[in-house]
């Protein structure tokens, strides 16, 4: 059906527009307060639904336009005041938005629609339109070809089976009670479309009658929400898969494009100014040439920034899903939680933005599940009944900082420590600062949750969170206070393509250490170097012992052995790096410039080399390698714990 190129393009346009529309609908629905009828919001939602329906009809996605039609009918009734805005109604509409998202994913993947889910939801909408109270239906999550007939409770199924039949009757007999006929006509349709739409309706109606629906009219809203939250991870995956398959596109503000074009114009002027020196050049022109080169330099920098701006999107895109997530999860967990978003307009690179979503979801869920206490507990502790989760983003020194703060129970230092000792991650007599104890939660397989819940507690999450953030070249820190709350701080580079680097020299080679990993650099005082068993060297920096290694040894392929004598360290420098909450020292010959470098992946023409994050081309045209500090530290110092034990023994 969608084989040829043109169709592909049309599909992409439709999907992009509809996804935006769905986002508008979702955020609008979340703004809507039950019992009130904020006309502007309802109109916004209605308009978004209407365009999706129109688009679906125009581009030939009849199922979408048909389903949206029912949603639109409900919204229309809310708009005209015929129907009250209820909590259940909002939930039903939110589920419809999810269902439409699922349909969009199916269209994108060119797979079949999840028909049972669509029909079940549609039947519920129809039931609501017919004045029945929506009690929530366990929506089948995936299309199962062979529904087990035993699970269909005949009695409970009746209302569902009845409702569509009523509709098909009213369709022909009572046009005045059937607003959808009018609405279809509104959306610039051809007669064929209307026919097609109603044909599909009949098909769907038939499907509904057959669909395996377990209807439990007595189901409490809480269990209904479980379905929503259970469906959430699947949705997240689909979201992630979608951009991969299409290559994706960005909507760019016209101002950004204009400023880019202006800069290109300036560049052309500079070029023509410099170009005249090609013909003739005498010594008197030297200052002109210098000016021209200075101008070229500033043009280039501005152009680079401007081009990067095009890839920048506000973090709002990643934050927006949390309103829904927190609403659903807090209801599910029976907690009262308020979500505060700050700095939503902070911009960051699209790639970073796409990859940071999942770690953020994880952290917010953790805060909700483990952090925020139940209402009773909070009241008992003298806290306000409503918990607070704050997501904020801001720029700081070329990085973007995202903070997730909650006013919940905080991390339990003693429990983390005892669990870590139990798991052999640390020894009992180790002296650890509070923050390094908190960092233990990022170890693989670490969980202090007494009970594994749906949401968290399996201990697979936090190490993945940290790894994802490290893959993006960032880092995460924790700060927490018992009874007051905890704060997770994520620092990320603004873009993946360019990195702030410190050039270090080792022998004749220049390497680049990402500035983000460097804590400080000091001259080595050989008296402070201690060699312990296993040839491991420790350096006493103020009151801390840092394991150190020679970068030259790493570059020669040896990870664990120092090649230098202590005496040779005299005029060398120690670059103190920090990764995963621990500090290490790298011995280098000299520090050179700090500069922004463009990352070129080695994988493009070769393959991944462990210990290297990529390569870059320096000003003189030579290639320099960028060190991957987390993986280097892991390789060089992974036996440090043993070494330290040996040293203390």
């Amino acid at each position: 059906m969608f084989d040829d190129e043109g169709m592909d393009e049309i599909r992409q346009i439709f999907l992009e527009e509809s996804t935006e529309g769905l986002d508008v609908m979702e955020s609008g629905l979340l703004e809507l307060e039950p019992g009130t009828a904020d006309m502007e919001t309802i109109n916004n939602i209605f308009r978004a639904a209407h365009s999706i329906k129109g688009g679906g009809g125009t581009f030939g996605f009849i199922e979408v336009s048909d389903f949206t039609h029912w949603v639109e009918t409900i919204l229309d009734e809310m708009r005209s005041g015929e129907r009250d805005v209820t909590e259940n109604g909002i939930t039903l509409l939110l589920e419809s938005v999810d269902c439409l998202r699922g349909m969009m994913d199916s269209i994108n993947a060119q797979s079949d629609y999840d028909t049972p889910r669509i029909s079940a939801l549609q039947a519920r909408i129809v039931a609501v339109l017919n004045g029945e109270v929506d009690a929530g239906v366990a929506v089948p999550e995936t299309a199962s070809d062979s529904p087990a007939p035993e699970i269909v409770e005949v009695e409970a199924c009746e209302p569902v089976a009845e409702a569509p039949v009523e509709v098909s009757q009213t369709e022909s007999a009572q046009p005045d009670e059937q607003p959808q006929a009018e609405v279809v006509a509104e959306s610039e349709p051809t007669t064929e479309e209307v026919q097609a739409a109603s044909a599909v309706t009949e098909e769907t109606v038939a499907a509904v009658a057959e669909a395996p629906i377990v209807k439990k009219p007595e189901v409490a809203p809480a269990s209904e929400l479980e379905n929503v939250s259970a469906a959430e991870p699947a949705k997240g995956k689909a979201d992630k898969a979608a951009p991969d398959s299409s290559g994706g596109s960005i909507r760019v503000n016209v101002d950004k494009v204009d400023s880019l074009l202006n800069l290109v114009g300036e560049l052309v002027i500079t070029q023509s100014m410099l170009g005249r020196f090609k013909k003739e050049f005498n010594v008197n022109d030297l200052s002109d040439l210098r000016d021209g080169l200075a101008q070229l330099e500033s043009n280039t920098r501005e152009l680079q920034e401007s081009a990067m701006q095009i890839r920048m999107l506000p973090i709002k895109v990643a934050f927006s899903r949390f309103t829904r997530l927190v609403r659903d999860l807090s209801r599910n967990l029976g907690k009262k939680v308020k979500l505060e978003l700050l700095g939503e307009q902070t911009e960051l690179d699209k790639t970073v933005l796409e990859k940071i979503g999942d770690p953020l979801v994880h952290l917010v869920r953790n805060s909700l599940d483990h952090g925020i206490e139940t209402v009773e507990k909070r009241l008992a502790m003298g806290k306000p009944a409503e918990g607070l989760i704050k997501l904020s983003a801001y720029h700081e020194a070329g990085n973007i900082v995202i903070e997730i703060t909650d006013d919940g129970a905080g991390l339990n230092r003693d429990r983390i420590l005892s669990k870590a000792i139990e798991r052999g991650l640390v020894t009992e007599d180790e002296q650890l600062s509070d923050d390094s104890i908190y960092m233990l939660i990022f170890q693989a397989g670490f969980s202090t949750a007494d009970q594994v819940s749906d949401l968290s507690g399996r201990g697979v999450g936090m190490d993945v969170v940290r790894r994802n953030i490290q893959d993006l070249g960032g880092r995460i820190d924790v700060h927490s206070e018992i009874g007051v709350g905890s704060k997770f701080t994520i620092r990320l580079p603004l873009t993946l393509a360019i990195l702030d680097g410190q050039l270090v020299r080792v022998g004749g080679d220049t390497y680049i250490v990402p500035l983000l990993s460097i804590v400080e650099s000091v001259f080595i005082n050989p008296e402070r170097v201690n060699v312990v068993a296993n040839n491991q060297m420790l350096y006493r920096l103020r009151e801390e012992f840092l394991p150190i290694t020679d970068l030259r040894a790493i570059c020669n392929g040896s990870y664990k052995n120092m090649t230098l004598d202590v005496d040779e360290l005299n005029d060398k420098l120690l670059v103190v790096i920090e990764t995963a909450g621990k500090r290490y020292g790298l011995v280098v010959d000299d520090l050179e410039d700090q500069q922004q470098v463009v990352i070129k992946a080695l994988e493009n023409n070769y393959r991944h080399v462990s210990g290297l994050a990529g390569a870059t081309i320096l000003g003189d045209g030579s290639v320099s390698l960028i060190l991957d500090i987390p993986s280097l530290a892991q390789r060089c110092f992974s036996n440090i714990e043993n070494t330290e034990q040996l040293a203390s023994a």
């Binding site: 080679d509 210990g611 081309i617 290639v623």
Partner: protein, 171 residues
């Protein structure tokens, strides 16, 4: 040869069997690479060595803004090492990899000629012990009474060179 070029430029290949090979010398033997895979030939320039790679991986160079690995075919096939001289050249080839195309430079002793070879004239390679192992050889061809060994450059570069990991790391 001119005629062939015209045909290729026009996108019409009248004789689908007509192939062109660039040949190079390695350890006294002449090897041929499909000329459509060759991106350029350039002199030897300083490379940036990459740690923890096999010794035949000399390092990477900046080739018009791309970071391109350079391999020494002599080291790769364990031939005697020779000092790089004025005729030492790097043949830059573009091969199809698993994830898109890879551009790689191969250091060889010297570049020789460009020959037209009819695909039907390519003889299957017997099992013989040349400098380059037979699994990377597409066939043999007699050109001007010389034997030219035609290479299967894609598999040589991918599985024969780039995908080899250092067999033992000093730990």
């Amino acid at each position: 040869m001119n005629q062939d070029q015209v045909q290729q430029a026009g996108g019409i290949d009248l004789n689908p069997d007509a192939l062109q090979f660039l040949t190079f010398i390695l350890n006294g033997e002449e090897y041929g690479v499909d000329i459509l895979k060759v991106q350029g030939i350039q002199g030897w320039s300083k490379v940036t060595p990459i740690p923890n790679t096999p010794d035949f991986m000399l390092g990477v160079i900046n080739l018009r803004g791309a970071v391109v690995p350079i391999v020494d075919l002599r080291k790769r096939f364990q031939l005697d090492e020779v000092n790089y001289g004025p005729t030492t050249v790097v043949i830059v080839v573009k091969v199809a990899g698993d994830e898109g195309e890879r551009v790689v430079g191969m250091v060889v002793d010297a570049v020789s000629e460009v020959y037209n070879v009819d695909a039907k004239e390519i003889k299957p390679s017997p099992n013989f012990s040349g400098s380059i192992s037979t699994e990377y050889i597409r066939g043999l061809s007699m050109i001007e009474n010389k034997m030219v060994i035609l290479l299967e450059i894609d598999s040589l570069v991918n599985s024969g060179v780039l995908d080899l990991v250092p067999s033992e790391l000093v730990v």
